[in-house]
């Protein structure tokens, strides 16, 4: 197990095996995304309270889930980077920051576009919205660390510390609608005898959620491979790998 993990953390090995997975992941992402979009936009019934605007849910909810999931992955990689000092986990931290910032920004923007027809306003300083905005600033902080500190190993360590400290914001986002009175709707009850969303609306949401997950892994692998290539550009294996291009 440890031997396999040690091998997995080798930049050369990671570059090679992730390259094999990328085309398959992108293919699955494209198929799931098309199915989810068709199902959510054209097949799922109209909501009896919100009308058609609820269809924003099919991109807003997966974006919001991913904004928190990517942060958890980043903090986990940050922990590994600090304890075992692996270059790969430092790369994961830096690449997750960019992807996570994108998902968080999308969650906020689509939420604003959903909020206007539902609440009558694009923004309010609600606990859920504010804690999600803080998450975006945490991602920006980690991106800024990598831009300001030139030495990648030092930047990796500092960014990992911030990523671990910032994890406290994730349960705050999740439970914000329970702990404080909020205009935002409560968390969905998916695993329950009586789910809060009807299956005809729930299934396309789950398809989109898996599509977003696959997209995240695809983009992470592509960005990781770029960074590995750049950091290892003076090594023999990179020159050998590029000789075949």
């Amino acid at each position: 197990m440890w031997k396999y993990l040690h091998r997995l953390s080798s930049l050369k090995y990671c570059y090679e095996w992730s390259g094999k997975w990328v085309p398959w992941l992108l293919g699955v992402t494209a198929v799931l995304m098309l199915v989810g979009l068709y199902w959510g936009l054209l097949v799922a019934p109209t909501d009896y309270q919100q009308g058609e605007s609820y269809r924003i849910m099919y991109i807003h909810v997966p974006s919001a889930w991913m904004s928190m999931f990517v942060y958890a992955v980043m903090a986990g990689a940050g922990f590994v980077a600090l304890v075992w000092k692996t270059k790969l986990s430092e790369i994961i931290v830096s690449e997750c920051a960019v992807i996570g910032a994108m998902f968080t920004a999308l969650a906020l923007i689509t939420g604003m576009l959903w909020g206007k027809p539902t609440w009558g306003t694009y923004w309010l300083w609600d606990a859920r919205l504010t804690s999600e905005l803080i998450l975006l600033f945490l991602y920006f902080g980690i991106i800024a660390i990598h831009s300001v500190i030139e030495e990648p190993r030092t930047a990796g360590r500092v960014a990992s510390i911030l990523a671990i400290i910032g994890i406290i914001n994730i349960p705050i986002i999740h439970y914000s609608v329970t702990w404080w009175s909020s205009l935002h709707q409560p968390n969905m009850q998916l695993v329950s005898k009586t789910p809060s969303v009807h299956p005809s609306m729930l299934y396309p949401l789950l398809v989109m959620a898996v599509a977003f997950q696959m997209y995240f892994v695809s983009l992470l692998f592509i960005r990781m491979r770029n960074e590995i290539l750049y950091r290892e550009r003076l090594t023999k294996w990179v020159k050998k790998a590029l000789a075949g291009h």
Partner: protein, 49 residues
């Protein structure tokens, strides 16, 4: 078709949200792929020197 675009008067919000999301996802993928080409070009140039 017109009904689908208008979406009960909420078409602007729904289609804007979908357009922003899909464009962002595609641009992020394309820019990552283009960065690889740029890095390879840089490495090739440094090897030639």
């Amino acid at each position: 078709m017109q009904e689908l675009l208008i979406l009960d008067g909420k078409g602007f919000y729904v289609w804007s949200a979908y357009a922003i999301t899909m464009i962002s996802l595609v641009v992020a993928l394309v820019s990552a792929s283009m960065r690889k080409k740029k890095i390879i070009k840089e490495i090739d140039e440094s090897l030639e020197q």
